[in-house]
Amino acid sequence: MATETLLVRPPGGLWVDALRRLAQNRVAVAAGTVLAVLAIAVVVGPSLSPWRYDQTDWNLMAAPPDFGSGHWFGTDALGRDLFVRVMHGGRVSLAVGIVATLVSLLIGVTWGAVAGYVGGRVDRVMMRIVDILYALPFMFLVILLMVLFGRSILLMFLAIGAINWLDMARIVRGQTLSLREREFVEAARAMGMPSGAIIRRHIVPNLLGVVAVTATLTVPQVILVESFLSFLGLGVQEPMTSWGALVNDGAHELEGAPWMLLIPGAFLAVTLFCLNFLGDGLRDALDPRDPGRAR
């Protein structure tokens, strides 16, 4: 309806603005590019090498990187090609990062938006539950879940994601609370729009900024959690691997075979760096009070 659009700020304008600012942030752009390259590499990489990720080369165990031998990144202690394993590990780490973040996003956004919008007693009860869950030692829960239900990667997605939604819920609730008082929402309510539609069409799109930033910053956290689980022996099941598992194995061989730590470690660190910088860049780009913004 025409009257509606007059009262609502066109979402297109806000996003175009933000994207422009993001493009001006060279660090964030560089980070995003590196991430894209990495993502392509882990998908395409394994097909470039003749080795499988679970194939043992009995003659070249713990061998250093050597283009001649066909093991570009060397081999691990069991003679498996490190290049292919790093690529496969990247797939797992990135997949865990993205999927678990999506899980936590879904639960957190829904919870927070509903609590913030409905308010009153429902809000208090929902946030109380969040407080109770906050008081649980998260690591212990994940460990218990992995022990109870075995080491399936699907479970890992769900477990890590289900634990991380608390922060998202709190942030979304805070944002929803402030959005609820804005004029355009008041107007929509005055015009008789049902709550569900208001949440869907006015609240959620304006949450996307905050959610995008939080999500981008959750992915590296999740990847680190998975690496911690590998440290405890509860990560992905062999012969599958992840960057966290590779780094953990490599840490034991630091003096004898440093490439086993340095190469996967570099991939992991670079990815985490880039995700964090990209998230910060997004946050800066969506910041309405940036003094550099054109008025």
Binding site: I132, L136, L144, P220, L268, V270, D280
Partner: protein, 306 residues
């Protein structure tokens, strides 16, 4: 303010109860028991052990027995460390974790705020990038990689610091630094974002327009409100630090509380796990209360009494 605090304390009781029930029944759902070993026990012995620890009773009765013990302040005997009671283990481990955690937090706040401030003041220029890159190593390199690396360099090759244990001031350095690094990153980033926010707000522009020197603007007017988000982050972060970090304790051989979480679950030491979970819950709730009260003191816009 007092009523606020009292109300919160009262509200903590049902929270703790839910915590206890959740962890009790989750632990029991895990297969395997505390007395399993590769070399089997003779059946009479196993039965006698189960009787002694009340494991032969129905689950709800064991739960009731445990809660009744809690009301008396008794956390029960440890299933794994048979010579100890859980309260003794917690009493031995907590001061160690507290020392390490507190030191790490102090270091993290000092270094993190400083780094974040530097970055915010030179936003999007070289010092910003340099400071944030340095800070980010804390959350880009897992601690179980950083710790052995630091040990290799400082303890083995340079021989400046001990590689483990907690005897004397020098042995605190590596564990505290490793613990602090991720927190430095978080706090630096929070400080930077929040300071940027505050620096572009109206009352700062007013202060500048009044002709106040930049340093006064920063320290007197900008820093306090900028630190508010940092403080609300500190609550749960400190609780996590204090109750111990599993990685640090394992690699440096520190007798803190953190390893009891993991070991307890793996050993099916039901009482130890529940004791530690309750302890952690109490600490988090207490710290959240402290943070909220401090918020009230520092931010005049927040009033407690609703």
């Amino acid at each position: 303010m007092l009523r606020f605090a009292a109300w919160r304390v009262l509200g903590a009781v049902p929270t703790l109860f839910v915590l206890v029930a959740l962890s009790f029944f989750l632990m029991r759902a895990a297969p395997g028991g505390p007395f399993d070993t590769e070399k089997l026990l003779p059946p009479e012995i196993e039965a006698s052990l189960e009787r002694a620890y009340h494991l032969d009773e129905p689950l709800w009765r064991q739960f009731g027995r445990y809660v009744a013990g809690l009301a008396r302040g008794d956390f029960g005997p440890s299933f794994q460390y048979r010579d100890y009671r859980v309260s003794e283990l917690i009493a031995a481990g907590f001061p160690v974790s507290l020392k390490l955690g507190a030191l790490a937090m102090l270091l993290a706040v000092a270094a993190g705020v400083a780094t974040g401030a530097v970055a915010a003041l030179h936003r999007n220029r070289a010092p910003d990038h340099a400071a944030m890159t340095a800070a980010m190593t804390g959350i880009s390199v897992p601690s179980f990689v950083m710790a052995p690396f630091l040990v290799l360099v400082f303890a083995i090759h340079l021989d400046w610091l001990p590689a483990g244990g907690l005897s004397g001031a020098a042995s605190y350095v590596l564990p505290v630094v490793t613990l602090a690094l991720p927190q430095i990153a978080w706090i630096a980033r929070l400080t930077r974002a929040s300071l940027i926010d505050v620096l572009s707000s109206d009352f700062i522009r007013t202060a500048r327009a009044k002709g106040l020197p930049e340093r006064t603007v920063l320290l007197r007017h900008a820093l306090k409100p900028a630190l508010l988000p940092v403080m609300s982050y500190l609550g749960p972060a400190t609780a996590a630090l204090i109750t111990g970090s599993v990685v640090i304790e394992q690699i440096f051989g520190v007798p803190g509380l953190g390893r009891y979480f993991v070991q307890g679950a793996l050993n099916r030491d039901y009482t130890l796990v529940m004791g530690v979970v309750i302890f952690y819950g109490v600490i988090i709730l207490a710290l959240n209360l402290v943070v909220d009260l401090a918020y009230g003191l520092l931010d005049p816009r927040v009033r407690h009494g609703d």
